[in-house]
């Protein structure tokens, strides 16, 4: 029997329950439709709560800890015998790391625009259900070690990169 504290999934959903980024580590939900059903059910059940601090609920013999900020819903799921406090620390690590990576602008728009960072962040927290790193600063620093160049001053970017960035901004403002 495996006694190691473990996580069954990490979910980041938007305020309508749609996926931003999800990662499953357990075989409990073998198909995409099973996963979506789980997300929908968890979302519906927790949606009405005011989870500005970490909240908790039991769901289909799983424990789900969650936290909502702006239009983002953070969830971490564990088995029913899992230490609830452990799950809450994972959630906290996840949330705080995202907060650092998005420079405090924790909302759906920012998260989607930096989806690569979010995905790397989830990848850095848990590997196959086992916690790899729990401290938000360490998680974020490993993810951000490369992303510095995108946030770096324009002078350090190559001409083509600067052009690309400019083009992006332009198309976005035109589309708006």
């Amino acid at each position: 029997m495996d006694l190691c504290p473990s996580v069954k999934n990490i979910l980041l959903l938007d305020s309508e329950g749609k996926r931003i980024a999800v990662k499953y580590y357990s075989d409990d939900w073998p198909t995409n439709s099973a996963k979506e059903a789980f997300e929908k059910a968890v979302f519906t059940k927790t949606q009405k709560t005011n989870a500005r601090t970490e909240e908790i609920a039991m769901f289909e013999s799983n424990i789900v800890v969650y936290k909502f900020v702006q239009d983002l819903h953070f969830y971490v799921t564990g088995g029913e015998d899992e230490n609830e406090v452990f799950l809450a620390t994972v959630l906290q690590g996840f949330f705080d790391a995202v907060d650092i990576l998005l420079r405090g602008n924790v909302d759906k728009k920012e998260a989607l625009e930096n989806l690569d960072l979010i995905l790397l962040c989830i990848d850095g927290i848990v590997d196959g259900g086992i916690v790899l790193e729990g401290d938000a600063n360490s998680i974020a620093s490993k993810v951000a070690s490369h992303s510095i160049d995108s946030g770096a001053p324009f002078s350090e970017q190559t001409i083509s990169q600067a052009l690309a960035t400019a083009r992006e901004h332009l198309t976005r403002s035109l589309l708006k």
Partner: protein, 888 residues
């Protein structure tokens, strides 16, 4: 609270425009992925394309085999770029694509180069990717690097290697086990997480070597554990060591208990909670051991963090099941949690309080719950209703306030499941608490006056028809029932007509009036209602005050001795091939699938969280009675007195699984052997059980009913009947051999060969004990019942029970020996008490009511003494109870 939601509504349109993935399409992104082949790689562009691909996969999009292969090969090109960010996205993408073995070879060299890179992040991630996609042969090639990585100076690299080791242990244990020296070294690492990962891996490598685990745990409890996570892990290992060690509570200290207690003072909450939970889950935990854990959990109850409150409550809730007294200190804290914002916490608080509460606190609690009920969701309400039902069965004297509560919530808004839970609870209370019957029935009557659920209305009408006529004033229910005939839909009307007829059949004085009502029903516009009314009018007599004939009652309301599911299949078959012959009800098989076997066939299905007491046994008893009375050989034995729970006669997972149910009659016993054949290649025929009753002198065999055929996985029953002296609780031991003819079955065609071989199969012995002759029947007011029996049939004596583990253990031993129903919750012994009084009631064979008052005392040396006072209608029975105790 609603602020973020409102904001969302305001700028939703704008936001949709902003999504960088709006209108994204798999085909287009795959086109874009061509940039991976550019000779001049644009790292930024490539990263974006990978992010888009990952986004699509994350949304549930799938790539075809060809697409996946194409993307994979394109992605491998990106190893040329030195960009750190892009490389990490490449790692992520490769893991997500989970390439096939021949594809893996393509990237192996690139990844191995990264594994030896000077960039720590490359080393760590390359290890994770490679271990994720590798197979056994490749693993042997990279093993050397992995061993090195485990003891790498950089903690991220070491952790990556260790965690990968944990995953690889599942698939390639023999390779990972060779790393234990390095892992051992990593356990000593100064990096907190490396120690945690190393500990997890080392334990998994050694988990089958109990001695090694003991040593590991012992050394760590003396050394330094650097991270809370590692500490939690250690606590879990300790619990396991304690569970496996042959610890004897009388011998004094439990090993490692002090360490667990020390963890309660750790600075990380996650460790404190883990330790507290571990202590509460120790087997046979004593009050002294529990106290410090309960104290920290109590502190958590008033924490500002919902997670802590929830975790503590959930643990206390479990403790309350076994040690309700230990939790009572927390009652005040829990009461304040009834109004917790988080409804999961509030519901847990209520159900825990209902478990720990004593009789005096029930009323206060009910008042609080009433306020709480209006603002929680139905699913939580159901939990509360179930908790109240079990509370009421525990304190039958409180039925009045609990029944009132149930009827009040029944009147409020609620969905079907919730209403059904309430109705079921009331029905169970009516069945088990005789005093509650009249008020309960009236509550149900009022409910159907305004009930939107046809299913519940018909259910209640049926129940009313069975119970109503037996009350002191059956006439008062008629109005409610007839109102249904006037106001409801056809289904309910038909059901109400049947209920009316039951009153007419059972209560002779009401018959003329019932006839008036039934005659009106003949003009109903639904044919089923008319048919029923006509049937009853023609069978119940002429409408005068006269007793209804027994045959008529049996015909109309007697139970059908055929399982309805069997009836249904037979009827369907009959309709499918139309014949001239009328349907023969005798052709329907009467064999009932044994309930316990059906449950066993669903492995992995969790036992229902909340028990539904009383309901199951009642229906099981009915089913047994019906089954037995359908067998002509046993029909003459009279009324079935008691059926035991099934006793297993085989180990689990054997060729044939057999259990026995002991059916007790006044002067007979019938053993029902439930057999299951678990071998697909065999068909058993003429299955009988040969019973050797030489150790049961008072029994003599009178008949057997063999089972004609026992195919694979279809349970069947064979019976053996014995005669015994009338009304005497004869006891004895029976040894059993299963005898049968076995035929080979061709697994492809399912056909059995013609020739069979006689064979036997040894079963385990079982005994008929005194408790088999006592029915568990509770009384609602023990004191009144005790007084009413009077001192004439009373027998009192004292017994020394010798040294016992605890008072609670002694009490439960005596209860099990007598097989009687504990009353008023007296089977629960407060954990620190030195004396205890337990009240039991039951029906002794011959329908003699028996009440028992047990007074226990325990001294310092754990010697238990017991005073046994028995009252019954027959002093011989009182004597008999004493004999059971004296010989047990």
């Amino acid at each position: 609270m609603a602020q973020p939601l409102v904001k969302k509504d305001d700028d939703r349109d704008e936001e949709a425009d902003y999504s960088p993935f709006l209108g994204i399409e798999k085909g287009a992104v795959l086109q874009e992925a061509r940039v991976f082949h550019d000779p001049q790689l644009d790292a930024r562009r490539c990263s974006q394309v990978i992010t888009k691909l990952l986004y699509l996969l994350n949304q549930g999009e799938t790539l075809t085999k060809i697409e996946a292969t194409e993307v994979f090969f394109a992605v491998t090109k990106l190893f040329q770029s030195k960009d750190i960010g892009l490389r990490r996205m490449v790692y992520l993408m490769i893991k997500e694509l989970s390439p096939s073995a021949d594809e893996v070879i393509i990237v192996t060299s690139s990844l191995m180069k990264d594994m030896n890179s000077r960039t720590d992040l490359f080393r760590a991630n390359a290890i994770r990717v490679l271990c994720r996609i590798t197979d056994g042969t490749l693993l042997a090639q990279i093993e050397r690097y992995l061993k090195q990585a485990i003891v790498d100076k950089n903690p991220v690299v070491a952790s990556a290697a260790l965690v990968s080791g944990i995953h690889l242990l599942q698939t390639n244990p023999e390779i990972v086990k060779r790393w234990s020296n390095e892992v051992q070294e990593a356990v000593q690492s100064r990096a907190a997480l490396v120690q945690f990962h190393a500990l997890a891996l080392l334990h998994q490598i050694r988990q089958n070597d109990r001695l090694a685990v003991n040593k590991l745990v012992a050394s760590l409890t003396k050394g330094t554990v650097r991270s809370p996570l590692a500490q939690c892990l250690l606590i879990r290992y300790i619990s396991q060591v304690i569970k496996e060690s042959s610890f004897n509570s009388q011998a004094g200290e439990r090993p490692f208990y002090d360490y667990l207690e020390g963890c309660l003072r750790h600075k990380a909450e996650v460790v404190i909670f883990e330790a507290a939970r571990a202590i509460t889950e120790l087997s046979n935990v004593t009050t002294r051991e529990l106290t410090p854990a309960i104290t920290v959990l109590q502190l958590f109850l008033s924490s500002s963090k919902p997670v802590l409150r929830f975790a503590a409550l959930r643990t206390l809730n479990k403790v309350a099941m076994t040690h309700p007294m230990a939790v009572t200190n927390c009652n005040i804290d829990m009461e304040s949690l009834i109004s917790d914002q988080n409804r999961s916490i509030a519901t847990l608080a209520i159900t825990t309080l209902l478990k720990t509460g004593n009789e005096s606190s029930v009323d206060r609690l009910m008042k609080q719950i009433t306020n709480f009920m209006s603002d929680i969701a139905d699913e939580f309400k159901i939990v509360v209703v179930e908790a109240i039902r079990s509370l009421c069965l525990k304190f039958p004297l409180k039925y009045r306030s609990l029944m009132n509560f149930l009827s009040n919530i029944l009147r409020e808004e609620g969905g079907f499941e919730y209403k059904k839970a309430i109705v079921d609870s009331i029905v169970i209370l009516i069945r088990d608490i005789p005093d509650a019957k009249e008020s309960g029935l009236l509550h149900l009557c009022e409910f159907i006056e305004d009930c939107e659920f046809t299913y519940l209305s018909t259910q209640i009408l049926h129940f009313l028809g069975n119970e109503g006529p037996k009350t002191s004033d059956p006439s008062k229910y008629i109005r409610y029932i007839y109102n249904r005939v006037i106001l409801e839909n056809a289904t309910v009307r038909a059901s109400a007509v049947s209920t009316l007829a039951k009153f007419g059949a059972m209560v002779d004085s009401l018959k003329p009036r019932i006839f008036v009502l039934l005659r009106r029903c003949v003009f109903d516009n639904d044919d089923e209602v008319r048919d029923r009314a006509t049937l009853y009018l023609n069978t119940l007599g002429d409408g005068s005050v006269a007793e209804t004939e027994k045959d008529v009652k049996e015909f109309l309301f007697g139970s059908l001795d055929i399982p309805l599911t069997n009836m249904e299949t037979s009827l369907k078959n009959y309709i499918q091939d139309p014949t001239e012959e009328p349907f023969d009800i005798n052709s329907v098989p009467k064999e009932v699938k044994s309930q316990s076997l059906a449950e066993k066939k669903a492995p992995g299905k969790k036992p229902a969280a909340s028990s539904t007491p009383a309901a199951a046994p009642t229906s099981a008893a009915d089913a047994y009675e019906r089954l037995l009375s359908s067998i002509p050989e046993f029909a003459s034995f009279g009324k079935l007195f008691k059926s035991s729970i099934p006793v297993e006669l085989t180990e689990a997972e054997t060729e044939y699984s057999v259990n026995v149910v002991k059916h007790i009659y006044d002067s007979h016993v019938v053993f029902q052997y439930n057999c299951t054949n678990t071998i697909p290649e065999q068909l058993l025929e003429n299955v009988t059980v040969i019973v050797d009753a030489s150790d049961a002198e008072e029994f003599s065999e009178v008949g057997t009913k063999p089972l004609r055929s026992l195919p694979y996985d279809t349970p069947g029953q064979t019976f053996v009947a014995f005669e015994k002296p009338e009304g005497v609780p004869a006891v004895g031991k029976f040894s059993n051999v299963l005898r049968f003819t076995v035929k080979e079955v061709d697994p492809t065609t399912g056909e059995a060969e013609d020739d069979g071989v006689e064979d036997e199969y040894q079963l385990e012995d079982f005994e008929v004990v005194a408790a088999d002759y006592i029915l568990k029947v509770g009384v609602s007011n023990f004191k009144n019942a005790w007084e009413s029996l009077g001192p004439d049939g009373e027998r009192i004596d004292e017994y020394g029970l010798g040294p016992r583990e605890s008072l609670a253990e002694a009490v439960s031993t005596v209860i099990n020996l007598l097989g009687m129903q504990p009353c008023e919750g007296t089977e629960v012994v407060p954990s620190n008490s030195r004396s205890h009084t337990c009240l039991l009631s039951g029906i002794y064979i011959g329908n003699v009511k028996v009440l028992v008052r047990l007074s226990f005392g325990i001294d310092g040396a754990k010697e238990v003494a017991m005073k046994l006072a028995v009252r019954s209608e027959n002093e011989n029975v009182s004597e008999a109870i004493h004999e059971i105790v004296a010989s047990g």
